[in-house]
Assembly symmetry: C2
Homo-oligomer: 354 residues x 2
Amino acid sequence: MRKAFLTANEVGRGHLENQRVRSGRVTIHDVAAAAGVSISTASKALNNTGRMGDDTRERVKRVATEIGFRPNALAKGLLSNRSFTIGLLTNDTYGRFTLPVMAGITEALVDHGVSVFLCTIEDDPALGKVHVDAMLDKSVDGIIASGKRIDRRLPVDLSNLPVPVVYAFTEGTPGSVAFCADDFQGAALAVEWLMGLGRRRIAHVTGPESFFSVRERARAYRSLAGDVLPVMYGTWSEAWGHEAVAKIWDAPGSKPDGIFCGNDQIARAVVDALRERGVRVPQDVSVVGFDNWEIVAAQTRPPLTTVDMNLKALGREAGLTVLALAEGRAVEPGIRTLPCELVVRQSCGGNPDH
Amino acid sequence: MRKAFLTANEVGRGHLENQRVRSGRVTIHDVAAAAGVSISTASKALNNTGRMGDDTRERVKRVATEIGFRPNALAKGLLSNRSFTIGLLTNDTYGRFTLPVMAGITEALVDHGVSVFLCTIEDDPALGKVHVDAMLDKSVDGIIASGKRIDRRLPVDLSNLPVPVVYAFTEGTPGSVAFCADDFQGAALAVEWLMGLGRRRIAHVTGPESFFSVRERARAYRSLAGDVLPVMYGTWSEAWGHEAVAKIWDAPGSKPDGIFCGNDQIARAVVDALRERGVRVPQDVSVVGFDNWEIVAAQTRPPLTTVDMNLKALGREAGLTVLALAEGRAVEPGIRTLPCELVVRQSCGGNPDH
DNA sequence: TTGAGATGAGAAAAGCTTTTCTCACGGCAA
DNA sequence: TTGCCGTGAGAAAAGCTTTTCTCATCTCAA
């Protein structure tokens, strides 16, 4: 007869009956007993500290491996005030920006045995506080704050926390450490690429001017392409991409031969709109996007050449920095910009193998 | 003169000098001292256990609040074998499925003081083991395994862990608890909606037949729409959506008046392809997608009517279940399917306010 | 042979909380 | 007055690991 219910013991607990019964977990007591030494000797052997005979050390290590001992991080953390845990706080519910950042953080820290709490707060200060408090209770070694844009704060006060805080892709408090992508350099990369392909009449269709990133990218655009065409500010939607193309092509006068878009969604719509008008991409017009959002950039026909902000690298840096702070190492405060890079696909023509 | 470097103390540590110096943290010792009682009395007062005068209890509580005492979760966990921490393991790097699941889990568990480790393993068994070990070291109360499809296992063995495991949107081991969306019901919802709008010649353009979800959806489609048109299996790409439309419309014979697509990407491409051919959506053909991937469904012109798998609710259930198991409560094993729902936008016509 | 120094290993405390056990005291009944 | 019981509160242990201090033993030199 099949049992109808199961408990945690049946669902997951392994069969460690031959070891400790009390908590089902192998502790350093068991190692010490099995190796015939004291607890302190066992500890020292495993941590390569203290003084003892090589044979003793080796024996303890071997025994520990054999019975599958893994030190309890809670006990270790209680003693050392290090939990090997950090928190990633974000208000980016889509994960568009946070997920690459998270991947970078994890990649950098997993080797150090650090795990990451992901806390998504949707612009809700109360929820933010709940999450921060929960993390502090758990003695996180540090917090990385992340968001959707670099000129907005998270709706939660992180300024007087008992743990270090690092900001990634969101605005930090004065005197803090913050990481962001170099919008100016990234935009310059895009415009230079277009110009390198011989494009001279380059338009810039982008998002709302209220975004710092938008202004930086526009500044780079203007400094390279000049003031031939006005920057077209709009929203971050495909609808705006279509609208912008209509505006340009429905107006009299000569048309652009290159369009630098503020993000990939706009770029995708621009490409679609051009195709619908019979304008060929990339033969007649080259289009560059921004973000390298795989799901948009790669699915566009033709696939988008676009600027990648290297968010994963950004996450990696942020992770290593918060770790350094947690370990008491000194870190220079301020905003660090990381360079973007161009991902060449087929929406510009030229050599796609670049 | 501005200082060039800062350490953790300056970055984040608050000013608690007036309280404990040793670890910078307010402990129950401080509460006891400030309230003039012993540690045990303080503990009992705060946890509403033990016996004592009401005045004592109130005083301790008030003092605790005043000096900002928060119990150390590490110490608590060491004692109770509960860390108020769970791990979410996934191989879905895009976060397409994991992020909504994660949101549901967090939403359900934050009230219980539980925080969630997010561990993304990219089909790398070694990395998976590293993450699982790291989580076990930290005494997670349970693990939720999640993925990209319900008929594939994560590349890591979770069958003999000392903590409960629950599967969400990925295949579980026999005898485990798993949650997934009801593909049959969801597909039926879509086809019925099309038929309710008077569509009779309904095509089904979907992903690879190797997916269980694809077969289930196709089964529902056939059971309702009959065998009028063959199911068109392909890939999960926009390219396939375009190709499928070309196949259908370039072939002789009468055309469909409704298309049920296996996911939103295919649906988007189908809508685009139809528009390019001058076929009007929704006037001539109604199109339904699957997934309700906001970024695709809402940006399609017209926005997609699509099936939502309720992944957030699924995450919520998974979270509550793993919590129940962690607390030793009995849970019925097996696969639980959660109903999908239809999100009506404009790609079908009919009443968008439904 | 005895004392010093080196070497290996164990005892104990600390880190923070909860829980069980014990104790002191006041009141009440015999 | 004595004994019992209930009440309120504290002492101590447990949970697991690391670190410091102490101790025992052995070797070698005087």
